[in-house]
Amino acid sequence: MRRARLRLRPALAAVTATSLLAAGVACTGGSGDSDRVRIGLLVSLSGIYTSVGEDMQRGFQLYLDTHDGRLGGRKIDLIVADEGDGPATAVPAAQKLLGRDRVVALTGLVGGATVDKVQTLTHERRIPLVGANARPEFAPVAGAPRDLSYTWHTSYNSDEPGIAIAAHIKAEVGGGSVYAIGPDYQGGWDELRGFTDTFTELGGKLANPGGKTVFTPFPTTENFLPYLNKAAETKPAAVYTFYAGGPAVAFVKQYRQSALKDVPLYAAGFLTEGAVLDAQGTAATGIRNVLNYSPTLPHAANQQFVAAWSAAGHPGQPTTFAMASYDAAAVLDRALAAVDGPVTGETLNAAIATVGRIDSPRGDWQFHPSEHRPVQRWYLREVRADGPVLSNVLLQDLTTLPAT
């Protein structure tokens, strides 16, 4: 405690000094507000989501590095904090960023549960939250829907991949049925519900007994073979799934060893996104999946992004996690440029609402006016050899979500 207070003194001094300066600047007509701006980046740097967290950090840093360390003409102090495995470690870290470092915006956030808890903190303090990974379905607070006025996401809602691919799968299987399987936690429930609800609305039939999606205990399930062999008994025309990280590797490998081997496998793109694809190897070949990004997209913005990624010495191809975090920096760049006068949570938040179209590696997108998440295209990808490496190669556009 004592150490914390000792360390706090310079921070307080800095804050006092900058606010005095800001006041002085305001008096002289507010011309040179080139003060430094503090941004908090909260991502998992320890625990089971570290891989995703590091990717997001790389994405944000890449934007900063390719823009002279400045966003909107202002020098950025990026303060990184560790989200760990979830809210128990993420909330103290967020409180430190908000309370001690006085950041004017918070970005990153790997886990859905973390978003759910940290959102209430940033909202209370009127600090914009620019999340760059899956947004969960927010539960209402005290009976009212969650107020999203200070909440933005450059990524997607966790039920969107399933919604986006349902019509395509329906067209492919025709009258055949689809087996749905996923991990037993909120992210898995959202991802699978997005698919099964949309698919059945379109007249599709689930192969699962009773039409109920099979959920495997998370994160303890590592042996999927019995589930897969059981699924094969229902003779599905295709399988739809969502897994990420370690379970994604085990699932894909064991799928190719199971009785389902030759049944087409469709998935939310996270199943084969990033480093897991290297570990899966050729077992992943032919998996068709849906995501808002593919490193093989032909846009100029993407080619620049991929080239910058390689030039920075990062391994492999950039992922949707890195891309969304890169875009979070782009959003802040434009918003900070639009802030006239001192940068506070309020002024920055108002500016974010005005950023308009973002020229992103994924293609152009803009924020939904009330839900504050991207209106963006979703792509069908297939795992194929792209030169010497396996890649999620773009097959076709699927749809634009959310419909406005």
Binding site: T50, D184, F215, T220, N223, P226, G246, A250, K253, A259
Partner: protein
């Protein structure tokens, strides 16, 4: 119906895989007197080494398994040195120490091998599937099954037929007696912990091709091993093997036959085994 047969076979194979993972833990507890919560970390270390070393050839696979085993043995040596000073201070202090080692070790593993999930590159012959009694079954699991049986046999022979094994069993029964025949029981303890670490490293190398290895591996491996060791009767190797097969079957046949209870199944099974097996309480302080 048909699937149930192959699933049961898989349950037993998976159980034997878990048995190797748990064997080291039960040996460390029964003969070494140490409750090792860093066991999962040793397994993960073996897995990482195997994943980093293999290059798709038989030679690299053999070297990788050997290196993983040696690394595990080294970990066991560290454990022996670290716990030597804690004799007589109870299992909670050991838990504190070994949990600390596990946390530090996990951080070191991530620093060395990165945070991604890794999987070894296996010889092509092991990547396919074969027909077993009309069903398709992965070759790598069969290979692991064979190795597991081999390890169990070797372990049994060493423990019951060799002088080293007799010394270990004697140390468990009567330390003073062992000291009487001119052997320092602490040396036996240390040797047992080294062997236990080697088993953990080997288990890591064997499981990684099937399950992959990543930041979550240590926790899962430790939890499953603990459950197996406790259900099998602490310190008993045959008990652990039986319990491991039980866990394997619960995790395969159980979860697909009673999917509604899948999340609860394993823990409930453990609790039931502990309760059914319980001995009368008076005077019994294990």
């Amino acid at each position: 119906m048909n699937t149930l047969v192959i699933t049961t076979v898989d349950g037993i194979a998976y159980g034997l895989l878990l048995a190797i993972a748990a064997a080291g833990l039960t040996v460390a507890f029964g003969a070494g007197g140490v409750l090792n919560l860093a066991h999962g970390t040793f397994i993960a270390a073996g897995g990482y080494i195997a994943a980093a070393w293999t290059a798709g050839t038989w030679g690299s696979l053999a070297t990788a398994i050997l290196l993983a085993t040696l690394a595990g043995a080294a970990g066991g040596g560290v454990l022996a040195a670290a716990t030597a000073g804690l004799r007589g201070r109870g299992h909670l202090d050991q838990a504190l120490l070994t949990f600390g080692i596990a946390l530090v070790g996990g951080d070191v593993l991530t620093a060395v091998f990165g945070s991604d999930v890794l999987r070894p590159r296996m010889p092509a012959a092991l990547e396919g599937t074969v027909a077993v009694a009309g069903y398709r079954y992965p070759v790598d699991r069969l290979a692991v099954l064979a190795v597991a049986v081999l390890v169990a046999v070797v372990g049994y022979v060493v423990l019951h037929r060799s002088r080293a094994g007799r010394l270990v069993r004697a140390t468990v029964d009567d330390r003073a007696m062992v000291a009487g025949v001119g052997v320092n029981p602490r040396t036996v303890d240390a040797a047992v912990l080294v062997a236990s670490g080697a088993l953990a490293g080997l288990a890591g190398a064997l499981t990684t091709p099937i399950l992959g290895v990543g930041p979550g591996t240590a926790d899962t491996a430790l939890l499953l091993s603990l459950i197996i060791v406790v259900c099998g009767g602490l310190g008993s190797v045959p008990g652990a093997v039986a319990a491991a097969i039980g866990v394997g079957v619960v995790q395969t046949v159980g979860v697909v036959t009673i999917p509604a209870l899948a999340p609860y199944l394993l823990i409930t099974a453990m609790a039931v085994v502990l309760l059914v097996r319980r001995r009368p309480v008076p005077g019994q302080v294990t």
